[in-house]
């Protein structure tokens, strides 16, 4: 604990334990938050941060331990009870209703005795005070991620919280939007509100927070003042061991054009999808093209079009190794040497309830040892699942478990390995390390770089700018279905890319 602070903390968690079946998500966690401080809760994916804040928000009940609010023991049986005490929450995955308007989305979160008469006025007032402009009558699905987050924050602020919890708030924001958010948070803290800021981004913590509690494997491993620690120090506390840095090849001679897409436009998926507008791109052998962008700007549509999950009408508008493949489906494009990894692990890249060997069949129908003459060889599939697991260090409970029982990192290594072991000439991968622990992320990124060295052309779609800058040779930005001109990684910087992510035009000259 940091010494020298006087008085009773606003909230004190004492030896909180949360168990999900055999998994111990939180193991005797102690945490204190004081009024007016911005307290960081650090930890990598799977460290138990989300579980802990869900307990604090009343969404989950702790298996053991106690919560003291202003010195009194309390039971937070639901988010309603937590809100009544003065705990507000901004979720990483927005709890919004896409079909409803902004005002309706806010109205549903207010207590029943709160009048809705002058709601629009109140939204405007809070918006003005904290720089959170909103149009109350817009349907939510028309808004950008940044605007959606504003609804979540206004929702919480209307209830005048004493403690505001923010779960990975910058993960969907551009660097510029994040700056604006930090301004809002500082204003709030100055007004006496306590903030619990959950993240795994260390530079943000150093910039914003006065105290930090670090979780690893469900336990508190350290509590410190992040301003006095180095980023490296914080990182090794978080990860527990040094994560190997990426070995990038200094010289990679790019080769022939592996994949080309010319002027493709496409309607968005479902009623809320983002349409693609005249997208063109290309990637060469031994080259990694990174596509940055805030989530929901057309990434899944772009992936669907590039992979052939949605074939396009004009054959010539998509080329693999110079051959037109526009009308071909994903399986035929695999036949041309391409491989794909979609964003969602469970439900898209893998069938949750099916075993790993069954999941191998999904994208390996052309592997003769797995499928022959329309018949599946179970032994062949099992053998391949095994070699993927060995090659990529996939940790699993038993020989052939269902995909859903694997941790995020291990399953991601499996679905990436499934494609890489094929030795593809083209790999298109959407969010390669989203929600994955640092060790698995390093393994995956290294394997991508190594694959490029062997002559594969790779396209990486990612909302993680650090990742984009770490592995790409060329960077393009997708915003509102439009793709920017790719630029070399050495000819641009985070600010320029960030500006493109907000739809800013000026950044073109940064190259």
């Amino acid at each position: 604990m940091v010494e020298g602070l006087v008085g009773e903390p606003l909230v004190r968690l004492h030896r909180i334990v949360k168990r999900f079946g055999p998994v111990l998500a939180n193991d005797r966690i102690d945490l204190e938050i004081r009024e007016g401080e911005i307290h960081a809760l650090l930890g990598e994916n799977g460290a138990g941060k989300s579980t802990l804040v869900k307990i604090l928000d009343g969404l989950l009940q702790p298996t053991d331990g106690e919560i003291l609010w202003q010195g009194n023991q309390v039971t937070l049986e639901s988010p309603v009870a937590a809100a009544a005490l003065g705990i507000g929450m901004v979720f990483q995955h927005f709890s919004l209703f896409e079909q409803m308007t902004v005002a309706e989305n806010i109205a549903v979160s207010l207590p029943p005795d709160d009048s809705l008469q002058d709601l629009n006025v109140r939204i405007a007032a809070v918006g003005k005070r904290y720089g959170l402009a909103l149009q109350p009558n817009r349907p939510v699905w028309t808004l950008s991620a940044g605007e959606k987050q504003r609804i979540e924050i206004v929702r919480a602020l209307l209830r005048e919280p004493k403690l505001l919890i923010l779960d990975e708030p910058t993960s969907v924001l551009t660097p510029q939007e994040a700056e604006t958010l930090f301004g809002t948070l500082r204003t709030l803290a100055e007004g006496g509100c306590a903030l619990l800021y959950i993240t795994h981004r260390l530079d943000e913590v150093k910039q914003l927070c006065s105290r930090a509690t670090i979780l690893r494997g469900g336990k508190v491993v350290a509590a410190c003042d992040p301003r006095e620690e180095t980023v490296e120090n914080l990182a090794s506390l978080m990860v527990g061991s040094d994560v190997a840095g990426l070995r990038t090849a200094t010289e990679r001679k790019v080769g022939q054009m592996r994949f080309e897409m010319k002027n493709v436009s496409m309607r968005g998926e479902g009623s809320h999808g983002r349409a693609l507008k005249n997208v063109s791109l290309g990637v060469r052998s031994r080259q990694i093209l990174g596509i940055a962008g805030v989530a929901g700007n057309g990434q899944s549509e772009l992936f669907a079009v590039m992979s052939g999950e949605w074939p396009v009408m004009k054959d010539q508008s998509i080329l693999i190794d110079g051959q037109p493949v526009g009308h071909l489906g994903i399986e035929e494009r695999r036949g041309r040497g391409a491989a794909f990894v979609p964003e969602e692990r469970l439900g898209h890249a893998a069938v949750p309830r099916m075993s790993l060997s069954d999941n191998v069949v999904l994208s390996r129908q052309r592997t003769r040892s797995v499928v022959k003459d329309g018949l599946i060889s179970r032994a062949g599939a099992r053998a391949l699942a095994n070699s993927i697991s060995v090659a990529f260090g996939v940790r699993k409970g038993r020989a052939d478990p269902p995909a859903s029982t694997l941790s995020g990192g291990n399953l991601q290594k499996f679905v990436v390995g499934r494609e890489i072991l094929r030795g593809p000439t083209l790999l298109i991968i959407n969010q390669p390390t989203w929600g994955v622990d640092a060790g698995a992320a390093a393994t995956i990124r290294q394997s991508l770089i190594d694959l490029a060295l062997r002559g594969t052309g790779i396209i990486i779609i990612s909302q993680d700018l650090d990742e984009i800058f770490a592995v790409s040779d060329m960077i393009a930005v997708i915003h509102d279905g439009t793709l920017s001109e790719p630029v070399g990684v050495t000819e641009t910087n985070r600010d320029a890319i960030g500006l493109l992510m907000t739809g800013g035009k000026g950044a073109k000259h940064a190259a």
Partner: protein, 357 residues
Amino acid sequence: MRLDIEPRAEVSKLAQILSPVLAVFVAVGIGGLIVLALGKSPVQALFVYFIDPLSQSWTLQELAIKGTPLVLIASGLVYCFRSNLWNIGAEGQFTVGAIVGCILPLATHGMDAGPWVIVLALIMGAIGGALYALIPAMLKVWFGVSEILTSLMLVYVAQLGLDYLVRGPWRDPKGFNFPQSVVFEPGATLPNLMSDGRLHAGIILALIVVGISWFVLTRTLFGFGIRVSGAAPKAARFAGFNAKRMVVFAFLISGGLAGLAGIVEVTGQIGQLQPSISPGYGFTAITVAFLGRLHPVGLVLGAFIVSLTVIGGESAQIAMKLPLDLTTVFQGVLLMCVLAADCFSTYRVRIVSGGAR
């Protein structure tokens, strides 16, 4: 107080096998209570329903006769339900299969045409059912119309169509104005398997279908595609299984087998067309499919249990004056119990004191 459920990471094989068994026991218990409420002895009912039909040769044959259409229809339904398509119009596809299948037997009536008639009749019946199932399938593929309501509506249409035919153009002119067709000639009926009984060759067809179906669903890429389409549609798309084609195939198979069941029932069991050719086999098969846990072999056991209740229900009506509808109630209860038991195998269920959620 509230009910808490929590997904199990893995469903054990044992739980998968035991849960339908448990469901049958619970359903029998509830059925007993209903019998008690009707003022009859549940013990006697238990015997009449579940023991008596197993004690005599002719009732065992009846069991197989009733089970045949159920197995055929449920085998097809498994393809739909496994790929998360809700074909609830098997009753209609059954009826259309019977109608289309009867075209040839009726046209060749009195010509002493020989056994090729029955072979073609079976094929035409299957095709008729398949094409009828194609209607909801295409409406779903082309316009995105929910298959649930369209397939069900088509049941009524098919039944009215049959009604029209047997009262109109296909009525036996020498049938004393009864609404029924002529009685098929021997060449147009399925052969009997035993000299002293009604068991016909349909059961063999049904078992062949079960075998093929097991192979297709568990061993082939197509069967894998069906399973993936239901379990995770996006993963099916990723694998390259065309969703629309899957809808069409699942409905064609399902409708084809229901149609085959229809023509088998008419040419094997009834021997002529009547306004009513099914005591709701198309709906009962839904219970059968779920009771068999949507497994191509499991449903044979499901059909066995359900046929028992059908025959038991008929004899209970005579022996105990229990209404026939009791069987329908029991089938509904059984389906509910199977669905509930499914939950206990996929989730951990606890009763917790505390507020409602």
